[in-house]
């Protein structure tokens, strides 16, 4: 943690960054996102097992961009997010300073996207064995059972859109649900409105989601939304041989045609 705090202070002192986005102590033992602008305040930064939120969600926020050059404290999933945002032309090489922190608290200063790519390549698979086990259980349900499971889970949803707000890849300034000509997705939080919203959001993330888990974590009603996106991470990997967040120059799996695309779902 000291290495991180010192680095942050240095960056701010030497005006190499105007704001460091990291984690700080919050209420009742939680951590919260902090925006450190003064070198002396770098001591506020913490990094431990509680630091799970993907802070890359703030990178494209206009109020934050206006503050100047950003240094981002990036947990592993946030590193992948940075690469995916780069692949989608939302950030360019050198635009932000990425401060990675390993599981055992070592600071890694990534000079450019290539360095992040190398680091990510050496990291584990997209889905952990535990996550795969849960997905496996779901896929072994019959269609009726799985439908009933999701109807039950989604019936709680009240359309607060915390999932969308927390997701760093949901950066559209005008979301599909906010389009009313036509109203593609019903606004009210009834069964159909909830189902269509979550299915649509998952589909819009197919091939883009890096499995940071923030959607499920942000949901105030504990709906396991990340299961939907995880299933798509698995699916895109299997059908298109692609993983999001591993390269700063990735094409979008669902909108790029390659002559050797698998066609095992046709005919």
């Amino acid at each position: 943690m000291d290495a991180l705090r010192n680095k942050a202070r240095e960056l701010l002192e030497n005006k190499l960054a105007q704001v460091v986005i990291g984690y700080g102590e919050g209420s009742l033992g939680r951590v919260r996102p902090v925006f450190v602008k003064e070198p002396a305040a770098a001591v506020k930064l913490v990094y431990d097992g509680r630091c799970l939120q993907n802070l890359a969600t703030y990178l494209l926020k206009p109020e934050v961009k206006k503050m100047g050059k950003i240094a981002l404290v990036a947990k592993p999933a946030a590193l992948k997010t940075v690469l995916q945002l780069a692949a989608e032309n939302q950030i360019v090489n050198g635009e932000i300073i990425v401060l990675g922190v390993t599981a055992d608290g070592k600071l890694i200063d990534f000079p450019d996207f290539k360095a992040i790519e190398a680091h990510v390549a050496a990291s584990g698979p997209d889905l952990s064995p535990e996550e795969l086990a849960v997905l496996d259980r779901l896929s072994h349900m019959s269609v009726e059972e799985r439908w009933a499971y999701w109807q039950e889970q989604l019936s709680r949803c009240f359309k607060c859109y915390a999932c969308r707000a927390a997701c760093p890849l949901c950066y559209c300034t005008r979301c599909t649900v906010e389009c009313n000509q036509p109203q593609w997705i019903p606004v009210p939080a009834h069964d159909l409105g909830n189902l269509e919203w979550h299915v649509m959001r998952a589909m819009h993330l197919a091939g883009r989601c890096v499995n940071c888990g923030d959607c499920g974590r942000a949901c105030p009603l504990d709906i396991p939304l990340n299961l939907l996106t995880q299933m798509l991470v698995k699916g895109v990997g299997e059908h298109f041989g692609q993983r999001a967040g591993i390269s700063a120059t990735l094409d979008h799996a669902l909108s790029t045609f390659k002559p050797n695309d698998k066609e095992n779902f046709i005919g």
Binding site: R32, A218, P220, D222
Partner: protein, 337 residues
């Protein structure tokens, strides 16, 4: 009316609920579901969960549902027909609400009944009774005492139960409606207990003065504090939706040119498009403006206009917030700033 005091023995609670249900009341209470405690219909006292500081969601959905049909329409040869749905079929008793939630009916009703009376809300209010249970425990998110409430507050309850040291309840019968509920089980409500109520209540320290805050806020309109405070806010609607006093709503038509319905559903002033004009002009285009609106509306505009604070200090907003916006912290920052 003066509050009558009785004892409700702990063994009698189950029977009281049975009598309510036999009297055609639907009983809604906190139930444990997976990891959360939330309000749902119960069939008996054993379904009730009492082991929590506060439920995740409020019970405001009983009075102001997430999705409510305002009317149905059916186009015809030479005109149209508008059909309204009947009110809720049964009365509902919300059992086991915290005193802060019971007090939250006041800001809800203030908005829905001022000037133009909102019939859907009034119908539900008339058919709802509240049996609240005082708080034994509180946490650092609670701040009822800063907004005129307390862990044993009777405001908004028809009956307030306070669990005493032996497990029996002091029952305070606050309203005529509460009296009618007791009449369904008069034999269960025995002579008032001798034990004092106060020593069985949680302690919630007053953290700021709501009146002083209401006086200070107008002068804070142009302060940079709103930008500082709202930097981490994601602009979702979690705080508004779990809040028992938040009332903003949207109206949506669903259907086609032949038939359909007009619905009312929850909305939040925190959403970026809440105030967007069709022309593209957005009076509150930045999150700091929306954050300021949220606080000023609850703690300055509503007290000014409707004589009621738009917050009961239940702390749900801070607990539900994905980025720990902690409303209490921000209020104290302004009250002392």
């Amino acid at each position: 009316m003066t509050i009558e005091k009785r004892t409700l023995k702990k063994e009698a609670v189950g029977e009281f609920i049975n009598r309510l249900r036999a009297g055609q009341w639907q009983v809604v209470a906190p139930k444990k579901k997976d990891k959360q405690v939330t309000f749902g219909e119960i069939s008996g006292a054993e379904d009730i969960c009492q082991d929590y500081v506060q439920t995740t969601q409020s019970a405001k959905g009983v009075l102001f549902p997430r999705v409510e049909e305002l009317f149905r329409y059916q186009m015809q040869e030479n005109g149209a027909q508008i059909l309204e749905r009947e009110g809720p079929p049964q009365g509902t008793v919300i059992f086991g609400l915290r005193p802060c939630d019971a007090a939250a009916v006041a800001p809800l009703a203030a908005v829905f009944t001022w000037d133009y009376p909102d019939a859907p809300f009034k119908k539900r209010l008339a058919q709802t009774a509240i049996v609240a249970i005082s708080c034994h425990q509180a946490d650092e998110y609670c701040f009822c005492t800063s907004v005129g409430g307390s862990p044993g507050d009777t405001r908004g309850s028809d009956i307030l139960l306070t669990r005493l040291s032996g497990g029996d309840y002091l029952a305070e019968i606050v309203t005529e409606k509460g009296k009618r509920l007791v009449e369904l089980a008069a034999d269960l409500f025995t002579v008032a207990p001798k034990e004092e109520k106060e020593k069985n209540l949680a302690r919630v320290e007053k953290r700021f003065d709501a009146k002083k805050l209401a006086e200070k806020l107008p002068g804070f309109f142009d302060s940079p504090v709103w930008i500082e405070q709202s930097l981490r806010c994601l602009g979702c609607g979690a705080c508004a939706y779990v809040c028992p006093a938040c009332v903003c709503f949207d109206i949506q038509d669903e259907g086609n040119e032949k038939r359909g319905r007009r619905l009312r559903c929850w909305d939040s002033c925190g959403f970026s498009q809440f105030t967007l004009h069709t022309s593209g002009h957005n009076p509150r285009s930045v999150q700091s403006q929306r954050w300021r609106q949220r606080l000023m509306h609850k703690f300055s505009y509503q007290p000014d206009r409707l004589d009621v604070v738009g917050c009961v200090g239940c702390g749900r907003c801070s607990r539900a917030c994905p980025v720990d916006m902690n409303l209490l912290e921000h209020l104290i920052q302004i009250a002392e700033g």
